[in-house]
Amino acid sequence: MMSSGVILLPGLVAAVATAVPLAVVNWHSVLFLLFAAVACACAVAVVLADNVVRMAFYLVLSLASTAGLFFLAGAEFVGAMQLMIYVGGTLVLLVFGVMLTAQAPFVAIKTSAGDRVLAGMVGAALLAVLLQAAFRVESWRRPAMAAVAAPAATPIGMALLGVRVDEPAAGVPAAAVRSGYLLPFEIVSVHLLVVLVGAAYLARAKRRRTPRSIDVAASSVGPVVTAREAARSSASALVSGGGR
């Protein structure tokens, strides 16, 4: 009884597999469409939501779906980067968003009509550029698992150290690609170091002789300054300090 069931099972599975038309569907296309749909829907939801934390939540979903697309394409390093930098970065953004805006619970952000028009124009311009680029591609192929023998991060790492170990594309002179990315890598790392030192300088505990921005705001507005005004100016000082 047991063994006959066990023997029947693979046959049954195979029969179902041949009968169901799903077998002709490109499985990668399904996953691709799934990830792409989630990414697009969540991106729209970011725009439509009016709560800053919900926005961040949708943004994280959208970015994570994009990471899924990268993994689907076999670009594991880029996918992990997407998770680390964009999704993790949104996390920090969220923390600051909550800390700076959550005086009252669930503060709603209302977008003005002018902002909507402006954002729409910028978005439409970007869409036009992207569509033009997309339609310029000569031959589209269906999404498929990338045929990479050994998707390794080593070529990227070696290229960042100034050694190219991968084969140059056909038609490109070998000398043009052999130099690697050492110079840009060093420039970026020095830039980041400067940013770190700057952030530490701005955030250090210090006593100022110059009046604080809250006092400047108070003196410019006059004696009748509401607590709301003071809070707003200090918040803006915080934002500009954090953004640097």
């Binding site: 066990v6 996390l91 669930f106």
Partner: protein
């Protein structure tokens, strides 16, 4: 003698498998692509879920017993016999039956989703975690990087929970946890980089394989710097999963219960499954990076004669031994965290930040530089005379006629064999004709 015995045993098991009619388990029939994918995905997901949920049951029981013993009590003694084995199960049933409450002013959607976000992050990290040479949900070329990146996302659920609960305690707890986790990711990343540097790969399987052989091949004993940085990793790992003495996010003396103050029932238990899953995960990562992964203190499989040519079943047994080895090491890591939790007092938030920024980060940076210089000066580690160099001893499942390279299709058909001392192969030619019926791995 031992070889003969083992071979007899293997023959018996092979016959047994053939008689019961389970031989199809070892030989997967030709399935269409989409079905093979789905079956593989479901099997892997269910196995990982069992590791997390079953692990949580065992660990919660162990935590109660250990806490009790450290505090000179007995802990659970009645449910399910003398040692209270079934206490976790009883707790689980109680949690299922509990009323599911949501605060009046809460953000309903986020409040309901937050536990699942935490759990998903913990679950996703397990996908890239190898349990034995090819007992891995998805072998990723950048496994370490992926696991660390996803592990950092678990805090997202905590922040959502803290914010959506509309409670001051929850929000305070969530903010503390966010600040803590974001800070501790820096030294944690530095610690993780050292084994990556020594092995020349971010692939967790490769890193563990490079430490095969005797205990002296473990990266923990590679040089003095790796020995120190392992303990920095332990500190940062405990902090990044929010365990005492770093559990400020749920400091009950100040914040009631922190971010999960308003949660009850099944949602609350999801947070705890995520927490215990993450504890297991960082312990397994420590085992893979520093403690040889599935390669034991002694090369058990090689000593037993389970090497080349002993066949599929032998290979499977060897992997099971390795899997048990890794789980044992990870469990020991979790038990260590419990011991620490019930022994040390909780730190203040400024002490937590000081530990991270003034101690862990500089020590990790210095040890990283030291390990780099050591590798330049004495390539190959510190105890070269005592053992064969890392990467030379194989546990027998990599090469050989009966090994994995023969290709059976049940697991990965073509592993990346890392020869002694050489780099990860780069610039290989694309070979699209090689296909296995069950594609477990993306593009490898």
């Amino acid at each position: 003698m031992a070889d003969l015995l083992i071979n007899q045993l293997i023959n018996v098991v092979n016959k047994l498998i053939g008689r019961v009619g389970l031989s199809w388990l070892l030989r997967v029939p030709e399935l269409p692509d989409w079905l093979a994918w789905s079956v593989t995905a479901v099997v892997t997901a269910v196995l990982i879920l069992n590791v997390i949920a079953g692990g949580a049951l065992v660990f919660i029981w162990a935590e109660r017993k250990i806490a009790a013993r450290i505090q000179d009590r007995l802990g659970p003694t009645r449910t399910g016999g003398r040692f209270g084995w079934l206490q976790s199960l009883a707790d689980g049933i109680k949690l299922l039956a509990k009323e599911d409450l949501m605060p009046e002013g809460a953000d309903g959607m986020l409040f309901k989703l937050a536990p699942y976000v935490s759990f998903c992050a913990s679950f996703c990290a397990f996908i890239a975690l190898p349990f034995a040479f090819d007992f891995v949900g998805q072998r990723l070329n950048v496994g370490v990087f992926f696991v660390v990146a996803v592990l950092g996302l678990e805090v997202f659920g905590v922040i959502l929970a803290g914010y959506a609960s509309a409670s001051k305690w929850s929000l305070f707890g969530a903010m503390r946890e966010a600040a803590q986790v974001v800070s501790y990711e820096v030294p944690l990343g530095m610690c993780v980089v050292v084994p990556v540097m020594l092995s020349g790969s971010m692939d967790l399987v490769t890193i563990a394989e490079k430490q095969s052989g005797w205990i002296s091949n473990w990266y923990l004993f590679h040089d003095p710097f790796t020995f120190v940085i392992f303990w920095v990793y332990v500190t940062c790992a405990v902090a990044s999963v929010n365990r005492a003495p770093f559990d400020l996010a749920e400091a009950e003396s100040e914040l009631v219960a922190g971010f999960h103050t308003e949660y009850s029932g099944l949602r609350w238990s999801f947070f705890f499954m995520a927490e215990y899953g993450s504890m297991f995960l960082v312990s397994a990562l420590a085992a893979l990076l520093f403690l040889g992964g599935w390669n034991g203190p002694i090369p058990l499989a090689t000593l037993l004669g389970l090497s080349e040519g002993t066949g599929d079943t032998a290979n499977y047994f060897v992997r099971l031994i390795g899997c048990g080895n890794l789980i044992l090491k990870s469990t020991l890591g979790v038990l260590l965290m419990m011991w620490v939790r019930w022994t040390l007092p909780r730190l203040r938030i400024d002490q937590v930040m000081t530990t991270c920024l003034k101690y862990c980060t500089p020590i990790a940076a210095a040890m990283f530089a030291g390990a780099m210089l050591w590798q330049l000066a004495f390539p190959g580690g510190v105890v070269r005379g005592l053992s064969r160099p890392a990467g030379e001893i194989r546990e027998g499942w990599l090469e050989g006629p009966g090994g994995i390279s023969a290709g059976r299709g049940l697991f990965e058909a073509k592993p990346r064999v890392v020869p002694n001392g050489s780099e990860t192969p780069v610039g290989q030619k694309v070979n699209p004709t090689v296909e296995s019926p069950v594609i477990v791995k993306v593009g490898s």
